[in-house]
């Protein structure tokens, strides 16, 4: 209650609210039944709505495959890929950034390119989507959290317009003007370009996943938690129980009414009306982040927040039909100055205008600003410009204690208890020894603490100030290795892209001078360049890191002993050991190019994250210096030790059994059809115990004749290290480029040295194939 009273004492907001109300009704109070932990359903939801919320969350988490409609181009494969921080419904770290692209024309009009202005990174047909022709502008976007959007949808246009001052008639330097969408005040998106939650969901599902939908029919719209049907009688009925509200906005009716369609071969719509209804309902029912009770520091910070002028745009509350909604946003557009301008007009918003971002839950939803350029709230404030320049300057001039108070106040606006440096919940316990994501054996004392520190470091999102970039694919180890647990594999949407130059005349491959890595992220507002001659782009699926320590312990001699590079035994299966220039044996990576876990970590930190590593005698891989703003090495020797130790200590995926008899039959078939020739059931570990990895760690040519790929040193374009099969049931998709979503499809995708085995599997009867798959899924 003290929080509510404090809010109501706000001078400017209180005056504005009073002015918006023309009768002597009681001063509105904070809405009740709307606050909960981030990601939870609103407490005031009905039992039926709670069921819908649960179904909608399941849809949000659904991972779409090409067979389900993903593509033809995409950035991610599920809604919660981007909206995951700190929980489903939130924002996203920088590895979920994306680019808006378009063409600015001589008359300053702007034509979006890509998929409605979104540049999809991935193509099912070509791997990497080329940048659309005539694109001359790109703008980085960071995913936006959508907690509490249903409450913002209920705020009337009049309430938002009551704060607009487009001509700055009060001469305070802060104007604020509405965006419009289909005749209603827009309120969602970085530029308030969308008014309807249905539109806010259908658009990104299509633009980022390639999943098509039909607009919700009126009958379903009428049942949405926020009145959305073009039926005045219904709307009146829906708001009848909301005391104190005399009119509501019908804005939700203004959803796009065009179906989305694509040509990926999956019948449209690729998401059912019921699933879309559940998803829209879920978004509408997400709770507002529950604010903390005020403390002396946060109360002082709130006063400072107001005094320096932040509240001029970050209006503490808007009046909705349920009461005051403390989102700390006026939902209006403000010019943020040239330094923050992205050049992208959206409806009425110019290239330098952005909607005031709601601040509830801000502590847990970094990075900040529309493109995620700010690591911290302090940095975000200092980067404000344009209409916010005055408030920014006053903030910078504050004492350290006063600034700390403002930041403490912001951190109190909800979500603080859920904030972490990555995605692991603050109190998430380490998995049990031997379990998915757990250590190989029980750890105690310093060993356990060290494992936990490594685990947190693996999960931590690196900011620009911590060394991220200048080019990167992910901003944490977890960004790619999270499926199904920390340290695991990665789904579509975090694939690495390799580039190469293939000369069709000579049938030779060459690596670009810049290397084969085609980074996904670089400087803001630009797509990292690829070699101008590059004509082969190959995706690389994230392999799991579980059990790497055991693999490292396998003596090189045991691996080399299985090599048969010249097929001396005439079985059609060769297997080549890959040696590095220094004579060591490579055993990690799709091309067996890395010899040790520590060097695997060094390589990934630099190549995937742009984080420099310390020089260590005897260790290669990883860059010691780069040219970003962070001091090198960006990963300390201690951090490298702890991270490497964590990875090395991860247990391999545990076996899980179903029909043991069937699995046993499948195991025999696995050997009989020849799979075990490469997928060796076990190799001896360092302690002499067998390591059941189902790999020989050798290179094999398993691609179709003529298939183009990227050469990596002595590893040919069609050669790949035999991937371990442990945990295969939970690490789809499969193959080096993720082309197979099922074990069956993965088997069928083999060729070359594995051709005979594929033919043997094909010849099996259905029962035998079932047994084979059951065995593989038990691994």
């Amino acid at each position: 209650m003290s929080f509510l009273h404090s809010l109501r004492r706000w001078g400017p907001a209180g005056l504005a609210l009073a002015a918006a109300c023309s009768d002597p009704a009681p001063e509105p109070t904070i809405a009740t039944g709307i606050f909960a932990a981030m990601g939870d359903v609103r407490p005031n939801a009905t039992p039926e709505q709670r069921e819908t919320f649960a179904r909608g969350l399941a849809v949000a988490r659904r991972r779409f495959t090409p067979e389900m409609g993903l593509g033809p181009t995409y950035n991610v494969s599920s809604c919660t890929d981007c909206h995951e921080r700190p929980v489903a419904g939130g924002g996203g770290a920088r590895y979920r950034n994306f680019l808006l692209t378009g063409q600015t024309l001589p008359d300053q009009s702007f034509t979006p390119t890509g998929v409605n202005g979104v540049l999809d990174q991935y193509s099912l047909a070509t791997g990497r989507t080329p940048t659309p022709a005539r694109t001359n502008l790109a703008a980085t976007r960071n995913p936006i959290p959508f907690f509490g959007v249903g409450l913002l949808a209920e705020v009337s246009d009049a309430e938002i317009l009551s704060r607009a001052d487009p001509d700055d008639r009060d001469h305070d330097g802060v104007s604020g003007r509405p965006n419009y969408d289909r005749g209603y005040v827009g309120r969602f998106g970085r530029k308030a370009q969308t008014v309807s939650i249905e539109g806010f969901i259908r658009g990104p599902i299509f633009n980022h996943l390639g999943v098509t939908t039909n607009p919700l029919p009126d009958a379903l719209k009428a049942r949405l938690p926020v009145p959305s049907a073009a039926d005045l009688a219904h709307t009146r009925q829906a708001i009848a129980g909301l005391a104190g509200e005399r009119q509501t906005s019908q804005a939700q009716v203004a959803a796009p009414d065009e179906p989305t369609t694509d040509d990926d071969g999956v019948p449209d719509p690729e998401m059912s009306e019921q699933d879309l209804f559940d998803l829209v309902s879920y978004a509408m029912l997400t709770a507002a982040p529950s604010p903390d009770a005020p403390t002396a520091q946060t109360a002082a910070g709130r006063a400072t927040f107001d005094r320096v002028g932040c509240a001029a745009c970050h209006a503490p509350a808007l009046r909705g039909p349920r009461g005051l909604i403390p989102a700390y946003s006026d939902l209006l557009l403000h010019d943020m100055g040239a330094a923050l301008a992205d050049g992208v007009p959206m409806k009425l918003a110019t290239g330098s205008e952005f909607r005031t971002q709601p601040l509830w839950g801000v502590a847990a939803t970094g990075p900040y600003l529309h493109d995620g350029r700010a690591d911290t709230l302090d940095e975000a404030i200092t980067l404000h410009g344009g209409e916010a320049q005055g408030a920014r300057d006053r903030y910078v001039a504050l004492s350290e204690a006063e600034r700390a108070g403002v930041l403490a106040f912001l951190a109190s606006l909800g979500g603080g208890a859920q904030a972490t440096e990555g995605l692991l919940a603050p109190d998430a316990p380490a998995p049990s020894p031997g379990a998915w994501g757990g250590p190989l054996s029980a750890l105690t004392g310093e060993a356990a603490a060290r494992f936990e520190r490594g685990r947190r470091l693996f999960d931590r999102d690196f900011g620009y100030g911590q060394g991220l970039g200048p080019s990167f694919n992910g901003d944490s180890c977890r960004a790619c290795h999270f499926d199904p647990v920390l340290g695991g594999a990665g789904p579509r949407g975090v694939d690495v892209t390799r580039q190469g130059i293939f000369d069709a005349l000579t049938e030779t491959f060459s690596a670009p001078a810049m290397g084969t890595m085609a980074h996904r992220f670089g400087a803001l507002d630009a797509r990292p360049a690829v070699d101008a001659m590059a004509n082969v782009f190959e995706l690389r699926q994230t392999p799991p890191t579980l059990g790497l320590g055991l693999i490292e312990s396998i003596p090189a001699s045991a691996i080399v002993a299985r090599a048969d590079p010249d097929d001396a035994d005439g079985d059609g299966v060769r297997g080549r050991a890959r040696y590095l220039p220094d004579g060591r044996l490579g055993r990690f990576g799709w091309k067996a190019n890395v010899p040790t876990v520590r060097e695997f970590v060094r390589d990934a930190m630099t190549n995937e994250m742009g984080v420099t590593v310390p020089a260590v005698a005897g260790e290669s891989f990883g860059a010691l210096a780069d040219d970003d703003r962070a001091r090198d090495p960006e990963l300390s020797a201690t951090q490298l030790d702890e991270l490497s130790a964590f990875v090395a200590a991860l247990a391999p995926p545990p076996r899980t059994h179903g029909d043991v008899t069937l699995e046993s039959q499948g195991e025999a078939l696995f050997a009989r059809v020849g799979c075990a020739a490469c997928h060796a059931p076990s190799l001896p570990g360092g302690d002499g115990q067998p390591v059941p990895l189902y790999s020989d760690l050798l290179l094999h040519d398993v691609a179709a004749p003529g298939a183009l790929g990227v050469v990596d040193g002595p590893a040919g374009a069609r050669e790949f290290r035999t991937p371990p099969l442990w945990g295969i049931a939970r690490t789809a998709p499969y193959m080096h480029d993720g082309r197979a979503d099922t074990v069956e499809a993965a088997i069928a995708a083999h060729d070359g040295e594995a051709g005979a085995s594929v033919r043997a599997v094909t010849a099996l009867d259905a029962r035998d194939r079932e047994a084979l798959v059951a065995f593989l899924r038990s691994l």
């Binding site: 009009s109 034509t111 005749g183 370009q193 409806k347």
Partner: protein, 334 residues
């Protein structure tokens, strides 16, 4: 907020089956139903050579609908041939009408029968206009990023693909409408705000300051031309003989149709029953209660002084295919 109140009134009117005008707008004649089109199909254009020879064309997913007004009543025209949905119609008198539609369809009425004319495209055609019976332009395109926009020309004998310059604007795969004052002053508008202008015997791309789709264009003379469109928000762009001026009409959703009789004002219709009279000098809209919440797609004033607007439940290509046709008398100054 004025907009909100007006639309709410329209919805109430639609619910209670009443099309009486708002008491607050006495100066504008009120709109009323031209005929009951609910079960007939979408209606996408209305045009006619005279007050007793008016046509409305449209259809459903697969077939055409042509309605004709003979001065007393509307009735369905039996085409005598199979045709996909029709999108636009234009002509030169009672016996020379051309309608275009889906799948590259062009239908011609010669006073005795409708015939299908061969075209070199199977893309949808969205607009047709001509300076003379042997000088017609038809435009269209699938709106699919992988296909180019379509422009056809009729020389009196055959339809042929017309040449136009490679567009500077990216991503244009459909032209929506064509209109002009004569053979050497023709405008084409389309997707993503593209505008082509034909003068001096050649097409040139013009940049009118609009980023959204321009759906329709009309005018009265070379110095009074108005293009309208937008999908999310209403967009208008005016050519005054010297320059283009573009504006977003904040309170209104996308616009689909425009027609002008005088150089000072344009009649404009659009999504959600939007009906506006636009002052061409100021681009200020005056809103009218069309009486329907359905989308209006075209508006036309006939020689008898009637303004007719048509449309339907147009948003979803999968239907439903409900139509609407409303009409009102024009004042002498309109």
């Amino acid at each position: 907020m004025e907009r909100r109140a007006r639309w709410a009134t329209a919805i109430v009117a639609a619910i209670v089956g009443c099309s009486d005008p708002s008491p607050s707008a006495p100066a504008t004649p009120s709109w009323s139903a031209a005929f009951d089109a609910r079960e007939l199909g979408w209606l996408l254009n209305v045009w006619g050579p005279s007050g007793d020879d008016l046509y409305a064309v449209g259809g459903d997913r697969d077939s055409a609908l042509v309605m004709r007004f003979d001065g007393r009543a509307w009735s369905r025209v039996a085409l005598g041939l199979a045709s996909p949905r029709l999108h636009w119609i234009y002509g030169f008198g009672r016996d020379d009408l051309t309608a275009v539609g889906d799948a590259g369809a062009v239908l011609h009425w010669d006073g005795r029968a409708w015939t299908r004319q061969a075209t070199p495209t199977d893309a949808p055609l969205w607009g047709v206009w001509g300076a003379a019976p042997n000088d017609l332009w038809a435009v269209g395109g699938a709106g699919d990023a992988n296909a180019p926009p379509v422009m056809l020309h009729w020389d009196g004998a055959a339809w042929a693909a017309a040449e136009f310059p490679t567009l500077t604007r990216a991503g244009v795969s459909a032209f929506f409408k064509v209109w002009g004052t004569g053979a050497d002053n023709v405008y084409v508008v389309g997707q993503r705000g593209v505008v082509l202008h034909r003068s001096g015997g050649a097409w040139r791309e013009e940049f009118v300051g609009v980023s959204g789709d321009l759906v329709s264009v009309w005018g009265t003379d070379a110095d009074h031309v108005l293009a309208v469109g937008g999908r999310g928000n209403a967009l208008v762009a005016r050519w005054d003989g010297r320059a283009w001026t573009a504006r977003s009409l904040d309170l209104y959703p996308g616009l689909n149709g425009v027609w002008m009789r005088t150089p000072d004002a344009a009649h404009v219709v659009g999504v959600n029953g939007t009906a506006l009279r636009l002052d061409l000098a100021t681009l200020a809209p005056t809103e009218e209660a069309s009486g329907t919440p359905l989308d209006l797609h075209a508006v036309f004033g006939d020689a008898a002084g009637r303004l007719t607007a048509v449309g339907g439940s147009l948003g979803n290509a999968n239907g439903p295919f409900n139509g609407v046709a409303v009409t009102r008398p024009m004042t002498s100054t309109e």
